[in-house]
Symmetry: C2
Subunit: 362 residues, 2 copies
């Protein structure tokens, strides 16, 4: 079997030709990991048609050798990664036009290219690697599936152990410990546990607020397995749900269901968004759904494609995306239901299996 990284480097080589560059400086950590397997936080990668060069520092000596495993030449640089880059580029031979990642290089480092790398012609590129990452291969989908299973397993465990009177922070802690215990390498993003009025804040952080009877309790969290993320939201009612809570919940549930069922490769991100948004608007809550329907997940928890009003491009086959409609009533509470969906050759496949029916807890 071909190492998937070799296939990716070969695909990137075609991209370099199309972008008219002799090589590409890769500064996005996720892109470095995608191409080489290296998962450290400090690295410069330079890719040409013939060479793949990874420059990192002492702290990652052992790790880089193990993870990269021959796919790239590893250079351990004791002073500055940039010094290492200039020294090694000079030995690469034929290199005139060099690309860099416009979305992943800060202005200060761009200045370094013009100064330290002044002998090369630097050309900004965008999405050369991101567009490859959008189309997941089988191994990647399996890792995302594993991260979903871990997250669902953690949620099942916490459902059972959550008592009334716990704080949002306490619940987040239980969930995170369950994620670790279920096999997560870390957290895909800062865990959200939001109760009562806090659930109306789409990006709430867990607070010292104690969950009360009658609250919505929204949990948005993700696991990481082998670098790949899951991203799941479920909203529960603590105690008995009121009619108003049931109504709001049901609208979000149906918006989620309709969007997930409508998704297919080739559809634009805008049309996908419109399915959920149109339904919520028809029910009179359009003003209260102020964010986009979803985003791709993979090595990063937010990556291409976007499912949003402003997303024209067609969703590619192989993408894994979130579907996460929500309704937020400031001061009262909010509901969001988020699943992860694979756009496979056979159509959309919802990977998340945790029930979407309203659950009354505690």
């Amino acid at each position: 079997m071909v190492d998937p990284r070799s296939a990716r480097l070969a695909a990137l080589a075609e991209g370099l030709t199309a972008a008219h560059v002799d090589g590409l400086l890769v500064t996005s950590a996720a892109n470095v990991r995608y191409l080489t397997g290296f998962s450290g936080s400090s690295a410069l990668l330079f890719v040409t048609q013939r060479d793949t060069l990874l420059i990192t520092d002492f702290r990652y000596q052992t790790q880089a050798a193990e993870e990269v495993d021959g796919v790239a030449r590893v250079v351990i640089e004791s002073q500055s990664l940039w010094t290492g880059l200039w020294q090694n580029l000079a030995q690469l031979g034929q290199l005139e036009v060099a690309g860099f990642e416009s979305a992943h290089l800060v202005h200060r480092d761009f200045q370094r290219l013009l100064e330290g790398g002044g002998r090369y012609q630097w050309r900004p590129t965008t999405d050369l690697i991101e567009s490859l990452r959008e189309r997941k291969d089988g191994g990647e989908v399996e890792k995302i599936r594993a991260a979903i299973t871990v997250a669902e397993c953690a949620l099942e465990r916490v459902m059972k152990s959550v008592r009334a009177g716990l704080t949002e922070r306490g619940i987040a802690g239980l969930l995170e410990a369950a994620l670790r215990d279920s096999g997560s390498d870390g957290f895909a993003f800062p865990t959200i546990v939001a109760s009562g009025p806090n659930s109306a804040l789409p990006h709430a952080r867990p607070t010292a607020r104690r969950v009360c009877d009658g609250d919505f309790r929204l949990m948005d969290f993700g696991a990481v397995v082998d670098g790949y993320c899951s991203d799941i939201t479920r909203t529960f009612v603590v105690g008995r749900a009121t009619d108003e809570q049931r109504e709001l919940y049901e609208i979000v549930r149906l918006a989620n269901e309709r969007a997930a069922q409508a998704l297919r490769p080739g559809m634009s991100g805008r049309d996908a968004d419109a399915v959920a948004r149109g339904y919520i608007e028809d029910r009179g809550f359009g003003e209260m759904f102020g964010h986009s329907l979803g985003h791709g997940i993979g090595l990063e928890v937010h990556e291409a494609p976007r499912l949003a009003k402003t997303a024209d491009s067609p969703l590619v086959q192989g993408a894994v995306v979130t579907v996460e409609p929500g309704i937020y009533r400031p001061g009262w509470g909010g509901v969001r239901i988020e699943d992860d969906v694979h756009l496979s050759s056979g159509g959309a496949q919802v990977l998340t299996r945790f029930t979407r029916e309203l659950i009354e807890v505690g």
Copy 2:
């Protein structure tokens, strides 16, 4: 009492004058928070001598109003933060030369300045706000102290409950739940729990490895309170320590102690680093201490100043820094002992109180 944010904005106004800019575009999230209190992940801040303008999106409407509380004018932008910026800058009046943060603006967004903001002259700046942040005020030191107390409290609890046979991941989960329970808003950085040979990897991630008798167990973690981070490392021995383990541990402990005692405002970061490094070199382990002695902590877990071989500048009074020497023997194990130290007017004050003596656990 003056709102500390007003004092910071006034200090920045002097910095703008000195940098010969009429205003500054702030794109670092930590810098935005420092100046305005806003803690969301999506914002553009523009500061002039007379105006402070925060542009964010719908998701943060409620949060921005609460957190900013009059210190800045808040604009909620439904399409793109950049569109909002151009519209609002046009109304600001006298603005010719505008600064931006060279270390916090990716090349793609720099291009936006030249295109969408072409009527202004854009000038790169560095460290205008970071240099203010280096010198903590009393309130900031109190928040860091609180984050240290939370971390130490969590460590105490986990010490008692850790059983032999647990995995690194399981221990990380217990520690993180204890952090939440002790009042942490989140995690200052991904928790490190590294055992046996893994402790020789300075940036290890917790794995499924079960901790065994005779292992070093290194834990490097931090709490967050009101946005401020702590950063602590302790290394334990599981079971009885060997003479070799005791020797290595004692060298690191003394390197930590000597450096912490030697620290004072005005000393260069290089000289601080040299105290610990010189001691470890004299004991014959210089090759195995491959990272820097420490770094500032505050709203970010890595901020100015640096305590490193290449850090010439003097440490300012008011800084809070880590002191974290380590020795790493590949394949065998490693020890790191990390404290947080405040460079106060009275000299260096070690804020971390958890014992630095070798503890044999489980």
